[in-house]
Structure formats: C-alpha cells, structure tokens
Assembly symmetry: C3
C-alpha cells in the first residue's frame, strides 16, 4: 500500500478488516517488521485517540515514532504556489514535506478543513502536498474531507458485533454547539458502501452530505423511521455542506436518547469520540451496555496496524 | 501493585525504598520486564522532573512511553456527571479515561488542584475518574492533594544520607510569590510518618496542614527552635489550607538561610524543585555541599522504577 | 567528544565529514552503541528539522530520546546569578541543568538569541549554563551565535557535490521580513574557513558579520560580482550585527533569482531552511535541479549521528 487517504486506496475492505482482527488477536506477531523504520506523525490539529492509537500501532510493529505538532513545535506553513512569503508563514509545504520525506519512512498527517472555503477544503492541500512532495507513503490521520482510519475501525467494530449477515446501519446527525467537519460521516458512508450492510443516513434538511460520497445511499429525514429495526446507530454531528460550515440548528430534538434507541433491534450505539454528553447522546445510552464507543476506540490500534503493516511490506 | 496514589497503596515503605536503591545500583536489571507494555503519561499541568524521570524509569524497564499534554495536544475535559456538555469541554473524563485504558497498560496522571474549591480538590476528580474508568493501574504524577512519587524519592534520599538511626527531619514552610498546592507537604508528612524519623513541621500560624495528613505530628511555630539539631531540613511553600489557597504572607522572614542552617546538626537541605532562589532558600544554602536537591531529583528515576516494576509484575 | 558547541570542538573537520558520510551509507552500523543511553532534547524555541533529525540520529544509534519543550511543557527559567526570584521565573538554570544531568546521558539544547542585548546574547547563558551545571556532554541545536550541526551538514553537502578540488562558495545575505539571528552565517563562515574552499561573503553595507567569525574572509558588497563563477551559493538572511538585531532593508534587490544564478559556474543553491519563497529566493531557483536544500536537510541526520557517535564513545 503506497497511501491511505480513502477507501479507494484499499482493494478489498473485508480482507483489510480481517487483517485488523488478526492484529487484535496477536498484537506483536509482526513486531520486527518495522525495525529500523521511522514513522512521523504531523498534527496540524489536536488529537487524542489518533495520536495515541497510531503510536501504539507503529510501536507494536517495531517502528520508531516521531511526533510533530505544527504551530506549537515548529513554524506556520504556506500552501499556495507562487506566493511572495512576506507574511506570517515561515515555510512552504513543498520544503516541509520534502524534509519530512528525508526523515521518515512513513508519514501520518492530520489536517482539518477551514470550513470557510469549501473549494479550498476539497482540494485537500495539506495532505495532498505532503503526498506530492514527501515522496513517502502517507496515512491520513483525518484530512479535510475524510477520516479513513476511523472508518476502518468502524467497519471492524461492526464486523465484530453484527448478529445478522447484513445488519441495518443508521448514520444519524446529532446536535453540537460548534461547527464540525463532514470528514467522519463522508468517510463512514464511503466505507459502509463497500461493506455488507444496509446503510441509511438520517439528518435534518440542510445537512445533506456531499453527493460524491452519498451516491445512491438512502436518506431518511424522519429520525424515528430511520432508527426502526436498526442494528447499529452511528451518531455524529457535522456542519452544513450546502451552506458550507454553517450550524443550521442545535436544539436537542435530534439528540440520540434511550427512548429512541428502544425502537432499534437491540441496536449498538457508535460514535467516533470525543462526544458531548447530553448534547449528541444522553448519558442513558452512553452508559448502557449497548454503547460500543470504547471498543470502537480500541479498534483504532488494530485497524491502523493493518494499514501500517501493508505499507511496511511495500517499502 | 494496582495503583499508586498515596502511601496507603504501599504495604511496606522500607521495602519499597530498598527496591528503589537496588534499581539505582542496577538500572537495567529488569529491562525486559516491560517489553510490549505501554505507559501513557497524561499531563494536565506543566512538568519537568516528573516528565523526564518517569520516561526514564519506564524505558529502563523496557516499556514504550506515550505522552499526552491535555489542553495543548488534545481537548478540554468535562468532569461533572449529568452535565449537558454544550460549553467549552469537548470530551468527558469517562470516555477519555476509557480510551486511555484501551491504549495503555499503565497510566500516569498529573492533575493539580484549583486551589479555589477545597471540597472539589479533595474529591480528586481527575485522577479518581481515571482510576475508575480506565480499568488500568494508575500512578499519581502529583494529584490535587498528594505527590507520592516525590515522597518516595524523598524517603530514599533520607535513607541514603542519614548518619543516625533515627534522624530529626524538619519540614519547613518557606515564602513564595504564588499560591502553591499542599500536595508535596501533605504527602511528605504521610510518608515520613511511616519512616523511622522524628518529624517536626514548622510554619507560620494559618499555614496548618490538613489534620488527616498531620494526625499527631508535632508543629513548631518557631522556625529556629524547629531547626535546632535537625539532620534534614525540607523546605517547601504551600498556600493556606484553612483560608484555602490564600497567601497569608510572603516576606523573607521564613526563607531558609545559611545562618538558620548553622543551628542544625550538619543538616542536609532538601527541596522537591523547582525552587525560587533567594525567596524560598538563599544561594548560600543551595550552592553549599549541604544541599542534596539534585540527588533528590535524581532519585525520582529509581523510586518510580520501583513502583512501575511492581505494577508490571501485577499485570 | 565532550561537547559540540562550535567548530573549535572538532579537531579535524574533514575526518568528521567523512564519518558522517559513512553513517549515511550505513545508517544502522552502530545501532547498539547507544543502548541504555538517553538523549534529552531541550527546545527553548521552535524546531522542525533539528527536532526530527536529531531524534532520528539518536535512534539510529540505539538511544532513547526524551524531548522537553520549555515554556510549553515546563517552567520559565531564570539565568542571572544572585537574583531574588520573586517574578515570573519558577526555576533557575542551575537546578534545571543539574536535573537534566541526572536524567540524560547527552543533552541537546536549542536557545535563540534575544537580538535585543548583544552582550547578553554573546554570553550564551542558556547553553553555557547547561554545559556548566549539567555535568553532561552538550550538543548545540543552535545557540544564540552558532548552529554547528547545520554547518557540519553544510560541509558534508558541499563535499558530496563539489566538482572541483577547491570550489568557490558564496554566502549571500538575502531579504526577510523578520529580524533573524546571525547564528547560521556565523557558524557557516567558521566551518568553511576550516574547509578546502574559496569563501566569499556578500551582503549590503551594514550587515557585516562579527569580526571574530569573519577574520580575514573576503567581503564583496556587489552581489553580482560575488556570484560570478560560484560553485555553491548559500543564501541566508540575518539581522544587523552592528545595529544589533535591526532590519536595515528588506526590498527584493538582494533576493536570489534564476538570473543571478546564471552567472555562477553551474552553482548549487543552498539554504538551511525554513526559507521564504520569492522573498529570500525565487521559485525558479528552489524548484530547479540546482537547488540542493533537501539533500542539505537530509544530511542533518548523518552529521548529527557522527557527532553523537563520538560522544557515546567518550562516555
């Protein structure tokens, strides 16, 4: 595997999920594979799960890990070509990426969208330029429009927990006081569409996800109707794509509650975390046995390990 | 050992001190014990000695170490139960702790008190919730009311340097321009009370330490009387416990000076560092051979190693 | 080697360059040399290349690495002797350095100048005090007046690329919107003077480098004349030494351009990075095959590895 930016970099999702489960069963089976190899993790944004789980995955494979928090540890970067750099940015992404390529065998990058300029966000300038100028395999640690390591862990969690051959999976929008990216839901839809599930997306009007991710995925504007008979309920807030980055509503009507979960078929509750309690989902759901959010978070190690193993093998 | 939050988690202080001294004599005797184990260090506050010495201790035992600086690297956390999280906190300690438990075999936590709300500080919500929700052994890297790894290093230093079977140890309050926690003196008293020493605490009126730590420890309000014949003088500032978090005085009268040390029995000067020169203690003491503050700081490695070794053995 | 603060700590520059090239050819030939050894990296300022390349070099030699970002991770430090520390600084460099010495086998330090007080900057208080009070070998990761690891990588890059026995090397000042240190040019001159090259320094009047670094190095105030026949053009901005820290001009006249490079003898373009595009140098140069800035940055690993290997051998 030469890059891991989206589901399109994976030939067979089911096979990769199966490998992730093998890593979970035997975490150190390939602990010599990454010997003498260095992974660089570049964070343009805050991170807890991704930061820790990626380090664990790389270390389980025997790699060294170097973490760079840009802004805080290093310089502000410039992304536009041809700019006269006489402002706040001290370094251009071309040089920064080239240098990362000199020092690291594999590079992980987290770079959130601005949520101000949709066209710019969709260009994925940060991670795209690091791919282009580093000359190294790059793993997305969540980019402007996708979070594929999360989606792979989500696929793995559903595979571990499903009780029917083809479960009904509901992705539901939920309220949040801040404007959040569409990366997690975009990615989740993209990966679910390659999985053996019945996917339904439910959200208020105005929160339609980008057509290039949704394609013919059914949308149900009635949340209660969507939850009926669901085996998995995946909650997530996102800001509007149409009125890009806007918060159209934040009232509690779309919060996931125990009452709503009662309409599912013993549905499991999923969320990528961090989650705002009693805003996105109530305590009664999160503290119930139906919540699998920690198993999901734990699976971030093994899904990342499956990706890194393939990258190490291709070096 | 399943947790290390206070002296009450240690059955035999002398035996643990003896083990710490063995690690000092042979730092790498157990370098395979922590193989394939990951220690997570979570800092809610700044740290120099604890940050570096804990990494050294864990690495000497063969562990991998992952450091998380909350706030700076990740999200602001919520601690109250039942809250509607529509404010500044993006994640609840229940999820954060659970996730740390998924990624780490042993967790170290530093979380200072607010010094505003005594009852809340005494609840030790941060470290208590991480113990409760992570399901992993937790080591205090200084909590709101205690700093047990420091106290263990202090016990070790006194054991190394004592010239009489039962030395006189004086814990003296000293001035400081900022309001500081009571964690170090609380903990020092608690550990000294389990050691073979004569402990005297001296401070101005109004700086009484919490009765649950002091019990029947003698208090001497006359600093000169306390110093007479002392073998060890342990200086530390703390804010008032009674008028919680207040600075009642900061004049130089209680500063430790070479003149005052002359009244001791060749007393050794101790401080946990960082120390403000010529405020807490004068240069003449700190730069004299009687100062053992660096030996004390160095012993932080070995005392931590003794604790981590016991935790690794109990995994 | 007991310290690496300047070229004066190196007996034979050519031999050290040769060793760096051997590390590049066989990065892991000494991967057991640093076993059980810990390198502490202390950053008083931001860093990308130095941060990552030093970690890589230390890890290639089998060392553990601990990184401390002062200010952000720990406390503000005091450097003056005899001060009453009742202000913003919580710890004196004497204790901080001593403690680093307790925890680390080798210490790397980055500490930029103030550019306000020339005499204070030239005292090199930060790195000097860490050398004095840590009792450990110290490597400069760029101090107030020098950047020797960069210069060693520069020597190595010139050695790799030179096409004549004694190449003409031009160090040219270039414009920049911010006041920058003289450390890189000072150091470059110092190292070039020990190398088999013809060095010419070119800059506008008022940007003369300190005489103690320049000695009898020729200065050419006409940039075009300096470039004529050059084999290497090393561009760098620095603020005025005479009018200490001042920016005397920032217009584009001194920018390195493709037109100017055409006057060289197929000259290679060098810069230590980060570089401001179209301010210091235009895109046409940076994106041309004559630019060797990434090779230069990559060589930071191997030059550091050569230094650390010698230090490990002397422990």
């Amino acid at each position: 595997m030469r890059q891991f930016l989206s589901v399109h970099d994976v030939d067979d999702v089911q096979a990769l999920v199966a490998e992730a489960r093998e890593h979970k069963a035997a975490p150190f089976a390939f602990e010599d594979l990454g010997r003498r190899r260095t992974m660089g993790l570049v964070f343009f944004n805050a991170s807890l799960r991704t930061r820790l789980s990626t380090q664990r995955a790389a270390q389980n494979l025997g790699m060294q890990v170097i973490v760079l928090n840009t802004g805080q540890d290093a310089w502000q970067l410039e992304f536009s070509d041809g700019t006269v750099m006489d402002g706040g940015s001290a370094e251009h992404i071309r040089e920064a990426a080239g240098v990362l390529g000199e020092y690291c065998d594999i590079i992980g990058v987290r770079a959130f969208p601005s949520l101000k300029d949709r066209t710019a966000d969709e260009r994925e300038e940060v991670i795209g330029n690091i791919v282009r100028f580093s000359g190294r395999p790059v793993v997305s640690l969540e980019s402007a429009t996708r979070h594929p390591l999360q989606s792979l862990a989500d696929c793995m969690t559903i595979e571990e927990l499903r009780t029917v051959p083809r479960p009904k999976v509901v992705l539901t929008w939920a309220p949040h006081p801040r404007a959040l990216p569409q990366a997690v839901p975009n990615s989740f839809v993209e990966w679910m569409r390659k999985s053996d599930v019945d996917l339904v997306v439910t959200h208020p009007e105005g929160y339609e996800l980008p057509p290039r991710f949704m394609e013919d995925t059914p949308v149900e504007y009635d949340q209660a109707a969507a939850f009926a008979g669901a085996h998995f309920v995946y909650a997530k807030n996102w800001s509007s794509y149409e009125r890009y980055g806007d918060i159209l509503r934040s009232d509690a009507e779309w919060m996931v509650t125990a009452e709503k979960m009662a309409a599912t078929d013993s549905g499991k509750f999923m969320h990528c975390l961090p989650v705002r309690r009693n805003v996105v989902v109530d305590d009664a759901v999160l503290d119930s046995p139906s919540s699998v959010v920690l198993q999901q978070a734990g699976n971030r190690i093994w899904s990342t390990q499956a990706v890194l193993k393939r990258m190490l093998e291709a070096l």
